[in-house]
Symmetry: C2
Subunit: 197 residues, 2 copies
């Protein structure tokens, strides 16, 4: 019942304390204004330990939200290569994550909290901008506005298929969904040259 006297918190407890502190700080301050230093202070550990366990702020966020991958690991490969093939690579990757109930669960959690708690909304919006859109815009040369509209297409379909489960979308083969959504996704990435502006 009683703790062994003099026992220090082990690495598992310390990791857990850091992740709890991170979730609180991100929800309270948003992604942009939360800092490793602030998270460390709340967890009562040294900032170096946060870096040691998790890495940079983006990696702390991914661990705290239990996201199934690090955007920084996945995006560069996904975004490189011929631009004509990018829509299909992007859509296939997106649905490979969402088709797996374990991997989509944390994203459903993020959507849910974005709709219910305004602090978490800010956190999610800022994270997505910093981890996804700025990189997409940089690698691909698509305007950030179009990157967010494209994201809207994919997130909206994911909501209707996996959460609201609207038919016939919910029961459709994933390959049909991919083929169905591709022309719209292409419309954002492979645009005919615009008159200068």
């Amino acid at each position: 019942m009683a703790r062994r006297p003099g026992r220090r918190p082990g690495p598992t407890e310390t990791r857990g304390a850091i992740l709890s502190a991170a979730r609180e700080m991100f929800a309270e301050h948003g992604y942009d204004r939360a800092t490793i230093r602030g998270i460390a202070r709340r967890a009562e550990v040294d900032p170096a330990l946060v870096h040691h366990f998790f890495g940079n702020k983006e990696q702390v966020f991914v661990a705290a939200m239990e996201l199934p991958f690090q955007p920084a690991d996945v995006l560069p490969e996904l975004l490189s290569g011929p631009q004509e093939e990018l829509p299909e690579r992007l859509v296939r990757f997106f649905f490979s994550v969402w088709e797996d109930p374990d991997r989509r669960a944390p994203f459903i959690g993020l959507l849910r909290s974005a709709l219910t708690a305004s602090g978490e909304t800010t956190m999610m919006g800022e994270f997505v901008t910093s981890a996804l859109f700025e990189r997409v815009a940089e690698h691909v040369g698509v305007p950030e506005r179009d990157a967010t509209l494209l994201m809207g297409q994919l997130v909206g379909v994911a909501m209707l298929r996996y959460v609201v489960r609207i038919e016939p979308l919910a029961s459709a083969e994933v390959e049909d969904v991919i083929q169905g959504v591709l022309p719209a996704v292409r419309s954002y990435i492979v645009r005919s040259p615009q008159p200068e502006a």
Copy 2:
């Protein structure tokens, strides 16, 4: 303080009782299986009174969820006319509703409950299918799957712009958003003829 003796519930109270009963029945049984008769029974009124106050089941749902318009009133006009102009009419109507905080509030409420309560998810999915997609498919000749993907595009953009407030989407002029999303919406409605299948 005390009610006047023998006072019967007035029309306002009866309407309120019907709407409460409707919200419960839709959440418990879904849209398809809820009936005017069941709603009347729960509200302890005659089914004819439900019809008298609100009309058919779809109209009861719209009143209970405080939606800002009746799909049956809006869709026929929206969907008729030249098919090339349909994407723009649809997108302009959608954003005219969402730009108005009062009119978008009930839809945000529906999205929120769809993400949190599974009964309400079913209710919303079934209502949207019956009130929107079956009519779109009928009027326009777009396959229902494509109608749901198109809906995913619009709902997703609405979530990111009005709820999560991702930049630069949240601060963009609505006209820019409309022009940005139109090519994707067109890709669902104005498709080049498919090989027979």
